[in-house]
């Protein structure tokens, strides 16, 4: 048992570090942070990562992936976090990618994999519906076969970044017979198809990340279906497991904790730094210690994936604990922001206020409440663990 890095790994680390320093410039960081420039800057950033073969590092080599070891993934995420750089938006490369190369037809692979990898195709995820959140089997959006097409009617909700997306991957109902899970198909839908409309949902951070996506007689070629009809749940499940692992947000927590330590050392009660308040120290220490454990929990999961074990139970654990630690960290961040944590920039061009640390803290705390809800709520994860790990 050890965490020492080999010579190759050390070289890789240095390579990533230099790349980050040179490519994740303050200008780019600022553009990514602002809603107006978010999409174009994100694509630019992801293309830079892709130029090194790092964007789709989890894909098999035949599709341009890196076949990275757990250690490499860990090094990579750490270097991203060290400069505060975002990993790729997961919907396309991390979530849909594996479904495409595992279950897609040859034609689908050719059409979608390269464009997804190069960030020329922005994906969003059409899973949740009103009344079918963690309970996906209850979904109501329906696709009815009509010749070589499906006619899709219904609506998806909480769709992250649908306003930017070129394509959406959707779970739709294609049958009413048998188990609900056996009635679902997995469709790829061009967002420009007539009959699709997107309406924004402003979330409690006062920002626009989420959307409702409405489908009214949307005609989709049958060829856009992944795999077999009514087998969509099988393909979707694999993807959920990945999503849970990703939601843990370990690198994000690490970066944010560093920010908390730095900010806390700058001022607090009695004009001393908050880090001189022993009770605040104790609070911070408790969160840091939970994080230190979480970091190794992730390493254990990565390492078990390396050893060819599918991340099953551990991915639920990681999602549970990771989302909880994220919220603890965000709470600390807000608590030390002081009075600026309550300010809301009414317009996005109130640039100074948008960027001030208190405002970042507010937005992250508020949007962060979703981490324990989406990707299968933490309550559902606990049900899953109780059933499969504890036999209850």
């Amino acid at each position: 048992m050890h965490t020492k890095l080999s010579h190759q790994e050390l070289a890789f680390q240095e390579d990533v570090r230099v790349f980050m320093r040179e490519n994740f410039t303050p200008e780019l960081a600022e553009k990514i942070a602002h809603p107006a420039t978010f999409k174009s800057a994100t694509i630019e950033w992801q293309k830079r990562l892709d130029s090194r073969g790092w964007a789709a590092n989890g894909w098999p080599e035949e599709h341009g992936g890196g076949a990275w070891s757990a250690t490499q993934k860990y090094i990579y995420c750490n270097e991203l976090a060290a400069v505060g750089a975002p990993d790729v938006i997961p919907m396309g490369i991390k979530m849909l990618g594996p479904v495409l190369y595992s279950y897609g037809s040859e034609e689908q692979k050719q059409k979608f994999l390269p464009a997804t990898k190069s960030s020329d195709m922005w994906w969003c995820q059409g899973y949740s519906e009103v009344g079918a959140g963690s309970d996906l089997a209850a979904l109501k959006t329906r696709a009815v076969r009509d010749g070589d097409d499906y006619i899709v009617n219904g609506a998806k909700i909480w769709t992250t970044y649908a306003q930017y997306a070129d394509w959406i991957f959707c779970l739709v109902k294609t049958s009413d017979e048998g188990r609900p899970q056996g009635c679902i198909s997995f469709l790829l839908i061009d967002m420009k198809t007539p009959g699709i409309s997107v309406s924004p949902i402003i979330s409690i951070d006062e920002e626009h990340h989420l959307n409702e996506v409405h489908f009214e007689n949307v005609r989709i070629p049958v060829g856009n279906r992944i795999g077999e009809e009514n087998q969509g749940w099988t393909y979707a499940k694999a993807l959920l497991t990945y999503e849970r692992t990703a939601i843990a947000g370990v690198a994000y927590c690490k970066h944010t904790l560093e920010k908390v330590r730095k900010l806390a050392s700058q001022g607090g009660e009695e004009s001393l730094s908050l880090l001189d308040d022993v009770d605040f120290q104790a609070r911070l220490a408790d969160v840091e210690i939970e994080f230190m454990a979480l970091e190794f929990l992730e390493l254990r999961v990565l390492s078990s994936i390396d050893n060819g074990e599918a991340p099953g139970m551990e991915s639920s654990l990681l999602k549970l604990k990771g989302s909880e630690v994220q919220q603890l960290v965000q709470t600390l961040l807000w608590d030390i922001a002081g009075s600026s944590g309550g300010m809301v920039p009414d317009m996005h061009d109130a640039k100074a206020l948008w960027e001030c640390q208190g405002n970042v803290a507010r937005r992250e705390y508020m949007f962060g409440r979703a981490a324990t809800i989406y990707g299968g709520s933490n309550e559902v994860q606990r049900n899953i663990i109780a059933k499969y790990a504890l036999g209850l």
């Binding site: 949740s128 009344g131 959140g133 963690s134 309970d135 089997a137 209850a138 909700i157 909480w158 949902i201 402003i202 979330s203 409690i204 006062e206 989420l210 607090g268 009660e269 009695e270 004009s271 308040d277 009770d279 605040f280 609070r283 807000w334 608590d335 002081g338 009075s339 944590g341 309550g342 300010m343 809301v344 920039p345 009414d346 206020l353 507010r362 508020m366 409440r369 979703a370 324990t372 809800i373 989406y374 709520s377 933490n378 309550e379 606990r382």
Partner: protein
Amino acid sequence: MNFSMTEEQLMLKDSVAKYLQDTYSAEHRVNILKQTRGYSAENWQTFADLGWLTVPFAEEDGGFGGNISDVSIIMEEFGSALVIEPFWSGVVLAGQLIARSNNDSLKKHLMPTLMSGEQLVSFAFLEPQSVFMLNHLTTTATKVGDNYLLSGEKRVVLNATADSILIPARTAGDGSSEQGISLFLVDANGPGLQRDVYRLMDGQLAMDIRFDGIQVSSARMLTAEGEAFPLISEVVSEALVALCAEAVGAMNHLYKATADYCRTREQFGVAIGTFQALQHRIVDMFMATEQCRSLLMRAQCSILDGSSDIQRDVAALKVMIGKHGRHVAEEAVQLHGGMGMSNEMPIGIYLKRLMMIDSYLGNKDHHRRQFCKLRYCA
């Protein structure tokens, strides 16, 4: 010992509750928030017409003659309905500073306009370095003839559209002395006052102000020179209790709304309210609310009894409201799922209001430090 409400209090509670239920819907609140001043002038006039703005003030001043308990009744209903009008900042905090000052002519002149809703005053207590200690004050007031020249800056002054601002300033003493603090009523729109207005996440319009040598007549000083601290301290203690009453109202609303939601929202074919794990968590929300309500009553009794434990009881209350208030609201968001995340649903707004209540006049960490000082270092 007596914890019951009087007939009069029951009537007050019912009338406030009924009015708000009939008129103060979630949609109504959204519309108010869009107005430039951050609240509805029309509502404010109605509150005045209903006599609510007179509740804390003595009968001889034309008020209702209510005490902290009456004020808390209103605040709790306001918390439950998420009322955004500046009752707390304008009446409970600034209003009481004026009502309890011994500048009788100022008081005589101002009180009627406050109670009629014509005038609004705000209290500017927070300075960049003060970290919520009311005695940490560097704003200065220098006497020149019959006037004082005020210089300094104040942060997060609530109700940015108030007509006047109460500004505490040092006429003597060092940075944290309780002596030498005077309190001035300053025209909010007068020359020399730089204002930086912004919106807070609970919908309040607030501002940072900055002034360098603005001139204020000594007739607009609320106490004898240098003797304002006891007044400020007393009024702030009561205002904290009233603020916590608002929080209890909000918490009470949240656990009930969450239970209602869980009774109707279905998942896996049954109402999620039938899931025992969720039931127990809503029970804990209920229990936290009742604990806060108990401490609220304790602090009220402390004030009404003139106890020597007022500061300790108020600090304890603010700690618990900060801790449990946010927790209850976070649970409400969680159990409402996506609905809790949407800004169109009021659940998240309760969370934001409870977070801001925690931050006003010192958060739970600050008040726990005060509690420890009073309890363990005396």
